[in-house]
């Protein structure tokens, strides 16, 4: 899936311009319209679609002085909802989360905009040319959000437009064709005139549509082109893999190197050497590290103790990658730069990567075997080394060898317990860097038993059916880490509200929840929170009896995989385990008339065990849900859905209670 072209010959640009000229002239007009398209009501290729793209053409020029892209789209509007596609975002800005996929769309301006609406009877309404933008008047912003809206658009119409998008020079390094659209694409044509001064490779990480021939390079001109048909729409779903891995794109990667490496092994070795050099450069003077390491490990008798003391020390430093985004004024005022390990030590702060590299330096200075590791964080990518895309190694951590054991540490994750990684850096590949370029390592994933939510409840049932009592919830591993990370900028008032809402939202009916003990929000160990809880009407009347549901904190499962159909593979972030232990003391004179049987389902990678028992006037329910799944192929969706349906069914089981005096059921 990787192709390579050599540097362009000097003459090639001229030739390609000459040979492109006829195609360019074709865009002075519009492609012919067919009667079938004009009268189309629907298509079997995209059943129920609100609109489809009949034709898409992208001609990109990375070579000329003003790099640009010519886009032509013809869209058939099939339903009222499809009218929204008459408003076109030509250019997107950088999203506030800075995701790379969006950053690819940066441009400086656009020109040559033409558009029209064609009614089913062939009548044409020309676009009036109005363009609306959102940009800083002083033109200092990186956001250039420009839109236009075609006129007089109705269901049944065809709309089409052409526009030249001028590209920022910096983004030549993100050159690509996007095949996938939110809509089905019937036919698409792409071309690229590569920059002749740079070396280029290209790939299609998420594959190509069925039957599509890969891009072809014209020998004479160097022009690369491709045609595709029947590109499926890309819908969004819960629990879907990272979008980067699903969106069909042909990615062009330029390199400043003198030669393009086609062998992935050699490529990554060279890249690893370079990265290791940067790491070494960051460590700088060893004297400062030595001194700091000695101080931090004072009193440690074993390597393990040293490693942990250093871990605590580095975690205590300020992580400048976290916290609220600072304005340029604040950054400008902050003259103190942290460019090497010495700076970080002196100033007591550094970025996530600097803290990881600092730990490596300190560990080495303490005689430990620590290695810097670059890793592909799987919240954005599923690593594919053959693509030779360094962007995919976008995270960092530390590999520490203590005897035969490897300990993986991420000092950039403020709340990671020692030896536990953030979920996105587990079950993925990384490169342990060294002078020779490094070696590939597979990052381990914590077991579900390490990421738990354990809920212990002691309730008293009131005569009116209300449950009242206390709740103790313990979060461990990643379950604690993600809660701490998500709230680290908040105060205790907001954290209290957050936890109370989490409990309220986990109970299938309305409940009053009051946090009585805050957990430790700043540490890395388990988080233990305590609550007072009141659930009105939990037990309901059934004639002479009363019934008590035995599924208490189950709402999250109630909402999982309820749709009948599924498009994408299912992607879980990390294994987890939920343990509920609920005791209910019945009112005096009440008794348990009948209990549902204990039940369990072991689906290997996921399992549930429920026990329900009566001890005198106490009802005792335990429920353990284990999920060790990470990825489930869409073909197995029905099985997955069935498992969670079983869980939900079990959560709806009820115990039958006999109130005091057979004729006095609970009343509201």
């Amino acid at each position: 899936m990787v192709r390579l072209i050599s540097p362009r010959m000097i003459l090639a640009p001229l030739l390609s311009v000459l040979l492109l000229a006829p195609a360019a002239r074709a865009f002075d007009g519009w492609l012919p319209l067919s009667q079938d398209d004009l009268t189309m009501k629907a298509t079997d290729k995209a059943p129920g679609a609100s609109a489809i793209i009949l034709y898409k053409q992208v001609d990109r020029d990375d070579d000329s002085g003003a790099r640009h892209e010519h886009v032509y789209k013809r869209i058939k509007i099939l339903t009222e909802e499809g009218r929204k596609y008459a408003t076109v975002d030509v250019v997107f800005g950088v999203r506030s989360d800075g995701k790379e996929a969006e950053a690819r769309h940066i441009s400086t301006s656009f020109s040559g905009l033409k558009g029209r609406t064609i009614h089913p009877d062939g009548a044409i309404v020309e676009f009036d040319g109005s363009v609306f933008d959102q940009k800083n008047e002083s033109d200092k912003t990186s956001v250039k959000d420009r839109r236009f809206s075609l006129n007089d658009v109705h269901a049944g119409d065809i709309i089409e437009y052409q526009v030249n998008v001028d590209l920022d020079d910096r983004y030549i390094f993100s050159s690509h064709w996007t095949l996938s659209e939110p809509l089905y694409v019937r036919e698409a044509k792409f071309s690229l005139k590569p920059n002749h001064r740079l070396l280029l490779r290209w790939s299609w990480p998420a594959g190509l549509p069925a039957g599509t021939q890969p891009p072809v390079e014209e020998r004479l001109t160097g022009l690369i082109h491709m045609e595709a048909h029947d590109i499926p729409a890309l819908p969004r779903e819960d629990f879907m893999p990272p979008l980067n891995t699903l969106e069909m794109r042909v990615v062009f990667s330029y390199t400043l190197d003198r030669s393009v490496e086609t062998d992935p092994v050699k490529f990554w070795r060279a890249w690893g050497k370079k990265e290791y050099g940067l790491f070494e450069s960051f460590l700088g003077s060893r004297g400062e590290l030595q001194s700091a390491a000695q101080k931090a490990t004072a009193g440690a008798a074993t390597d393990d103790q040293k490693a942990r003391k250093l871990y605590d020390f580095v975690l205590s430093l300020e992580n400048t990658s976290l916290g609220p985004q600072r304005s340029r004024q604040e950054l400008e005022r902050d003259k103190a730069k942290t460019e090497n390990a010495g700076d970080v030590l002196r100033q007591g702060r550094g970025s996530s990567q600097q803290l990881n590299w600092l730990y490596c330096g300190l560990a080495r200075a303490s005689g430990l075997d620590a290695t810097p590791v670059m890793v592909s964080a799987r919240d954005l990518y599923i690593f594919a080394p053959q693509l030779m895309d360094p962007h995919q190694l976008n995270g960092d951590l530390v590999q520490l060898k203590l005897g035969k054991d490897a300990v993986w540490l991420d000092l950039g994750a403020k709340f990671a317990p020692y030896g536990i990684l953030p979920w996105e850096k587990t079950a993925t590949r990384g490169m342990a860097l060294d002078r020779d370029g490094g070696t590939w390592v597979d990052l381990p994933i914590a077991a579900s038993a390490d990421n738990t939510i354990e809920t212990k409840a002691e309730f008293q049932l009131q005569e009116n059916g209300t449950l009242q009592g206390t709740l103790t919830i313990t979060y461990t591993g990643v379950e604690a880490m993600i809660r701490r990370e998500g709230r680290h900028e908040q105060d205790d008032t907001a954290r209290k509200k957050f936890l109370e809402e989490q409990v309220r939202n986990s109970i299938p009916v309305g409940a009053t929840v009051d946090l009585t003990r805050q957990p430790d929000w700043k540490g890395t160990g388990p988080m233990v929170a305590k609550f007072n809880v009141s659930i009105a009407g939990w037990v309901t009347p059934a004639g002479r009896r009363a019934v008590c549901p035995v599924g208490f904190f189950t709402v999250s499962e109630k909402e999982m995989f309820t749709r009948t159909t599924r498009f994408h593979n299912i992607y879980f972030h990390f294994p987890y385990r939920k343990l509920d232990d609920v005791k209910i003391e019945l009112p005096a004179g009440w008794s348990v008339a009948s209990l549902p049987a204990a039940w369990e389902k072991d689906a290997k990678a996921a399992a549930i065990i429920v026990h329900i028992e009566a001890n005198g006037n106490q009802l005792h329910v335990t429920r353990v849900l284990r999920n060790d799944l990470l990825t489930v192929e869409v073909k197995n969706y029905a099985s997955l859905r069935q498992f969670f349906s079983l869980v939900r069914t079990g959560d709806e089981l009820q115990a039958v209670l006999q109130p005091a005096g057979a004729t006095s059921p609970p009343q509201q």
Binding site: G48, A49, S50, A51, T79, E80, E81, T87, G93, V94, S96, G98, F132, D133, E137, K140, T141, S142, V143, S149, N151, V153, P235, P324, R326, S327, R328, Q329, E330, R333, E489, Q490, D491, T493, A494, R504, V509, G510, T512, V513, A536, G537, T540, P541, R545, V547, K558, T562, R563, T564, S594, L595, P596, R648, T649, E652, L653, Q654, V656, Q667
Partner: protein
């Protein structure tokens, strides 16, 4: 002056969204401005003690002032200042300041400062502005006569003091202003200063607070309030303006002015003047009217066709009235663009109706019931939406026309909202019913109460027949009809579906909230496109293990689907504001479950009869032969629940929750046993 009202509405959802979207660019755009110094008024306020507040307050306003100066040519010049101390992390959003402006107004300057807990002050100057389209407004980028200036104040962090000042010049359409000293944050000291030309007068009217008198100096007047408590937002509370202390001030030129009004009638005349040149037709509009009404033999059919065009063929740009100004675009422009806001849509519809000889009028309303009241001072700030009142020609009468108001002079008026594309002609959205609107008729304005339609026009009628087998599995067929807003919301869901698979999502959501597992075996919608008819769903599902075993007993929930309970009042914090319902509503369910052979019904839930002045709920489970029959009704009777009824409302919701979860008990018995339980 209109712009001021919305300048810093950090509570607005739209503005919050804008904060997120703009964060990245604002942080990079604020250029370093060297050593800065906040003005003395900022430093002075920063040293003041904080007003009383609890630990949930994000920020406190230490000082706030608005100064409005009117010149003799009726131009205004407003200066707004505010100093806040950020107390909690969520208070950071106060650091992004939005100032709207339009064709008739200009932001002269907008500056911000921060006094950090340590170190030098920060300053943001005019050159650091962003200029943006209305944030968070669907199709907002299409309009070019409403924009926002935005700044982001550096270091807007907990413990720091931030401040901003902006100045707006305006040639206002109306010489009126609203001062809102009560905010969602407590305010220590707040000022409003009015500077009038010689001989001018003013009229000030207070709402939801004492009638504070100003101090006067020449023809300048200053109102000052101290320690204004915060007004917290609660779910389903009345509109903020309806409960917050505020003052409406009208500036009155000697001998009066076209830009001044003191009554609803005068306000209507003022609005008529704004509309005067906007209602002209064009040959293109005439042709469209002719095309739409061709073949239609009755005036009603013609009106329906034109109304449908305005509803569905003109895209709605969701800019609130007031924020986007009061003067609509010309009908010709709206027709050409095929987009517009509410007043634009009303304008085009009026113009088209005129072509078939039907008179109509603009009606200004507020989509939050209670925000507009005839007892209030006539004010532009009251309204946020415009609909149409159509004067029904003689002889036009139809059972589908409910939203009718019998006007003593104008005769029968039919209210219609061309903005809501799913409301049938003849009805009003539930959120507009029974609220007050300013009818702008030929003789000026008057406040009229919009009709409240029968509850039966808004709700769900659902029936189901189901069969239970001995394993607890259920097969059920549902038939439901939806009316009013319940129909509109489903039409919207279906219309939003990009794929065929998404068209089942609404029913799947309903089923997934009621059944732990299910298979949807059939689904069809009825009248999805024809808004004049009730919307319907027909669907069938199989539900494994619907009935649950407990020992040898089989437990069955008679209420198959749908929920009317609410956890609104299940909160440890005491409720402070009344609860308002969206609109009148009546839901009915009838579910019949045939039990499996070999079982008899041993217990059924007791009937539930909850009847309160504001709403009622009745349910009953009976057994007839081998069929469990569950029927219930839910009706909203009064659209507002006052504080003295809050305990009853809580009880009401709990009773519903209990009924919805209640269970019938089956036990093994003679298969032929026939029983009747009530």
């Amino acid at each position: 002056m209109n712009s001021k009202l919305f300048c810093r509405s950090a509570s607005s959802t739209a503005v919050r969204m804008g904060t997120l979207l703009l964060g990245a660019c604002l942080f990079t755009s604020a250029a370093f401005a060297g050593k800065a110094q906040a003005p003395e008024w900022v430093h002075s306020a920063a040293t003041q003690p904080m007003p009383a507040h609890d630990d949930k307050v994000d920020a406190v306003v230490l000082y706030s002032s608005e100064e409005m100066t009117v010149d003799s040519s009726s131009h205004t010049h407003g200066v707004v200042r505010q100093v806040l101390k950020i107390l909690r992390p969520d208070g950071r959003e106060h650091g992004v300041v939005y100032v709207p402006y339009g064709k008739s107004s200009k932001v002269v300057h907008l500056r911000g400062w921060c006094i950090p807990a340590s170190g030098d002050d920060y300053e943001v100057k005019d050159k650091d502005w962003l200029d943006i389209a209305p944030p968070g407004v669907r199709y907002g980028e299409l309009v070019n006569d409403l924009r926002y200036k935005v700044i982001s104040i550096p270091a807007a962090e907990v413990g720091n003091v931030i401040a901003f000042e902006y100045e707006v010049e305006e040639d206002p359409l109306v010489l009126q202003d609203t001062w809102s000293p009560q905010l969602q944050d407590p305010v220590r000291e707040t000022h409003y200063r009015l500077n009038l030309p010689p001989s001018w007068e003013y009229k000030a009217t207070w709402s939801n607070g004492p009638d504070v008198k100003p101090t006067a100096s020449g023809n300048s007047y200053e109102w000052v309030l101290h320690d204004v408590p915060a007004l917290n937002i609660e779910q389903h509370m009345p509109p903020f303006r309806a409960v917050a202390t505020h003052m409406v001030v009208s500036m009155i030129a000697p001998g009066g002015s076209e830009k001044t009004f003191n009554s609803w009638e005068q306000m209507g005349n003022w609005y008529n003047r704004l509309l005067a040149d906007r209602l002209s037709s064009t040959p293109e509009i005439d042709a469209q009217v002719a095309s739409l009404t061709a073949g239609k033999t009755t005036q009603l059919a013609k009106m329906q066709a034109l109304a449908r065009f305005a509803q569905a063929d003109v895209r709605y740009v969701a800019i609130e009235l007031g924020i986007g100004g009061w003067q609509p675009h010309a009908a010709s422009e709206v027709f050409k663009n095929r987009f517009g806001d509410c007043k634009d849509k009303a304008t085009l519809l009026r113009t088209m109706l005129k072509q078939i000889g039907v008179e109509s009028y603009h009606v200004s309303v507020n989509v939050r019931r209670g925000a507009a009241d005839p007892k209030m001072q006539a004010s532009v700030g009251i309204f946020n939406h415009v609909i149409t009142a159509i004067r029904l020609p003689a002889g036009v009468d139809d059972v589908s026309l409910f939203a009718i108001y019998n006007h003593p002079k104008l005769g029968r008026l039919l209210f219609f909202d061309p903005t809501n594309e799913f409301v049938p002609f003849g009805e009003l959205p539930d959120y507009e019913q029974a609220s007050y609107g300013l009818l702008t008729g030929p003789d000026g304005g008057e406040m009229v109460q919009l009709p409240r339609e029968p509850s039966s026009l808004n709700g769900i009628r659902r029936t189901a027949k189901a069969t239970l087998d001995a394993t607890g599995g259920l097969k059920a067929t549902f038939d439901e009809l939806r009316f009013g807003s319940r129909a509109a919301e489903q039409r919207d869901v279906l219309q939003s579906a990009d794929r065929r698979e998404d068209r089942t999502k609404a029913v799947e959501n309903l089923l997934s909230h009621s059944f732990s597992a299910y298979t949807l075996t059939y689904m069809a919608s009825v009248n999805a496109a024809d808004v004049s008819q009730p919307f319907g769903y027909k669907y069938s599902a199989t539900v494994p293990n619907y009935a649950k075993y407990a020992g040898d007993l089989l437990l069955v929930r008679p209420r198959l689907v749908g929920s009317r309970s609410s956890a609104l009042l299940e909160d440890k914090e005491p409720r402070k504001q009344p609860v308002v319902f969206e609109g009148p509503e009546l839901d009915n369910d009838v579910f019949e479950i045939t039990i499996p052979p070999g079982y008899v019904v041993d217990d059924v839930p007791p009937p539930m009869d909850a009847d309160f002045p504001f709403a009622s709920y009745h349910s009953k489970t009976t057994v007839e032969g081998n069929v469990i029959r569950y029927q219930r009704s839910f009706e909203v009777k009064d659209l507002r629940v006052d504080m003295n009824q809050m305990d009853d409302l809580k009880k009401f919701y709990r009773m519903i929750a209990s009924d919805e979860r209640s269970t019938a008990v089956l036990k093994p018995g003679a298969s032929s046993a026939a029983s009747t339980l009530h």
